[in-house]
């Protein structure tokens, strides 16, 4: 709260929409009867991430399975309560607001942050027609609107997301739609809430490859029209790049609960600063620019470390080909290498003790 008061009159415009500060999400593993008195195993799904999302922004999160990108995404839209750190919406802490301690009502925040899930089959209530599913958000946001107007809005939006004839689609049940069409309905439903941020949690991963670009283009078109920001989660660097590039946003690379590199897609891919980004680039065939080296993975080990017992220091040091002694001791922080390009690697700092320490030997 005090931060808000200290700001000048012009600062409202550059205030981030969502501000994530040093957020940690730890899950405790349930203990069995025999482990009653031992320390519980803690999975650090997200371990100290700070990132800002502005108005009409795109943040594409990439990383391998289990790196915490979905958990971070859900934390950003207030679905997952962080174990530590704060997450604020327009300067108000979301979880404080939920407790009723700020001037904003939680219902406002709630409807401003929406989600599109990965599985189109599970994201629509099988017992409601498309028109019923879509009238619910309108009824919530515009209680005064008549049924006829509601129908007209739904039809025009369905046409807008490429589902024609809208009248026919509106009267269908979800099981009568294809996966791509269901995902379009999910997008339409999220947009009808007039949200500020939509979390697209692997929203295109379940779609046919040929439909992915189309769906991404649709989301980007509507982003401008509806003035929404997207947090786009993907495990495919090329999809993330496409989305962030066309949405004029950033790509964030996650590794074991840490954000290791954030930057504009073009820079991140042509000039990756973090060795892990390099690995991701290598793993994405059409991005491996020098195909001659494509057969050799740019890392020492393929195995992912146990998230319950993450490696000390830099978490990537067990697999990093450039790791040195210093990496096993200290954890690098995100630091700016150029405009809006940040990386958490000692190699970005020419004065770091990393350069003096000895190389790791397997």
């Amino acid at each position: 709260m005090s931060r808000l008061e200290n700001r000048g009159p012009n600062s409202v415009t550059d205030e981030p929409l969502i501000s994530v500060e040093d957020v940690k999400v730890h899950f405790e593993k349930e203990r069995s009867l025999f482990e009653m008195f031992s320390e519980p195993d803690v999975v650090k799904a997200v371990d100290g991430v700070s990132v800002d999302i502005g108005e009409n922004d795109v943040l594409a999160l990439v990383g391998e399975s289990g790196c915490g990108k979905t958990t971070l995404g859900k934390t950003i839209i207030g679905l997952q309560k962080p174990s530590a750190g704060t997450i604020s919406y327009r300067g108000r802490d979301i979880w404080e607001t939920k407790a009723g301690n700020t001037d904003l009502s939680f219902a406002d925040i709630r409807s401003s942050l929406q989600i599109i899930h990965q599985d189109p089959g599970s994201s629509l209530n099988p017992n409601r027609r498309i028109v019923e599913t879509l009238s619910e958000p309108i009824r919530l946001t515009h209680p005064a609107i008549t049924a006829g107007e509601r129908r007209a809005r739904i039809h025009s939006l369905l046409e807008r997301v490429g589902m024609t004839p809208a009248r026919d689609f509106a009267s269908r049940y979800p099981h009568q739609l294809s996966g791509g069409e269901k995902q379009r309905v999910a997008l339409a439903r999220a947009l009808l809430m007039n949200p500020d941020v939509i979390l697209a949690d692997e929203a295109i991963s379940a779609l046919d490859v040929s439909l992915r670009v189309e769906m991404m283009d649709l989301m980007l078109d509507l982003q401008e029209e509806f003035n929404t920001s997207f947090v786009f989660i993907s495990h495919d660097l090329s999809n993330a790049r496409y989305f962030a590039e066309h949405g004029d946003g950033r790509v964030g690379v996650m590794y074991l609960g840490n954000l290791v590199e954030v930057g504009p897609p073009e820079q991140l891919i042509t000039d990756p600063q973090h060795p892990y980004t390099e690995v991701l680039r290598w793993a994405t065939p059409n991005l491996a620019l020098d195909a001659t080296n494509a057969s050799e993975p740019p890392m020492r080990k393929i195995d992912i470390p146990d998230p319950v017992n993450p490696p000390s220091g830099c978490r990537f040091h067990t697999r990093c080909p450039k790791a040195r002694e210093a990496c096993t001791q200290l954890q690098p922080e995100l630091r700016e290498v150029s405009d809006s390009h940040q990386v958490a690697c000692f190699r970005s700092d020419p004065d770091h003790e990393y350069w003096e320490s000895s190389e790791l030997e397997d």
Partner: protein, 333 residues
Amino acid sequence: MGHYYLRRTARVFVTIWLVASLSFGLIRLLPGGPFTLLRANLLRQGVPASEVDARIANLQNIRPNAPLWEQYFDYMFAAAQGNLGTSISLDEPVSQVIAEAVPWTVFIVLVSTILIFVFGILLGAIQAYWEGSRFDQLVSGVSITLMSVPFYVVAVLALFVFAYQFGWFPPAGTIGPTVEPGLTPEFVLSALKHAVLPIFSYTITGIGGQALAMRGNSIQVLGNDYVEVARLRGLSDRRIATRYVARNAILPLYTGFLLLLGFRLGGTVILEQIFSYPGLGYYMWSALESNDYPLMMGTFLVITIALVIGVYIADLTYGIIDPRISRGETDAY
């Protein structure tokens, strides 16, 4: 679509016809044959041997000396007209005995099955919301225990404790001996009092299974993304619980409900015997004991027809309740 309903309805009649034929055939295969006892009885009563066959034919719509296929047609035509012959042991038309017995059995079965569903669904839904809590564990344990106890064990215990030890409820019959049938308060009260123990023992052993089924379904539905989205839209918990979770979780139980109704009708054979409750099952048992073939066939037929109709209704209405069951129409995909 209409085609489907037509086919489905035709199948009901075919099934009932098959069941009737089967009961006719099976009973004729029983040792002694259906009319040996009746013939002996009539002879003992002093009916002249020459008239015995005519009397039997008169009573049972069947000519005992005719070829089997003629007997079969006679029986089927009479049954189609609602004439099921005359009970040998009770000396009353079978259809009349059944008509008097059916309301009591339907009352017990319907009430106990509805109770099972109401309580089972409530318990299961609460368990699902509080998954892993003390309450959930306790109810699951009790449910499994009750599921493994047969209803007739509970029935015998209930009869012993509540009827004989405490004397709270009458041990037998459908209404008190002095009560006149009619829509009077005494009649309703007496009927309820007589039905409490049978309904109780029939219900308590069935709730557990339904609760566990509902719990499983609800937990599965709760994990669906559309429930999370509904929460994100800020819908009230109550609306989510009823319109989103309960509705989708109850659907699979619906067919089970109508099937269970039919199967439990058959279970009354034992239940009504324990409580000397003169319903359908009670008469079926006494018919078996006294070699009363017409009554046996009649009760058997009615119980099976009830089951067939239960499944029929379930099939017809499922498409209305769950849009995903498409009644054979193909759309999309």
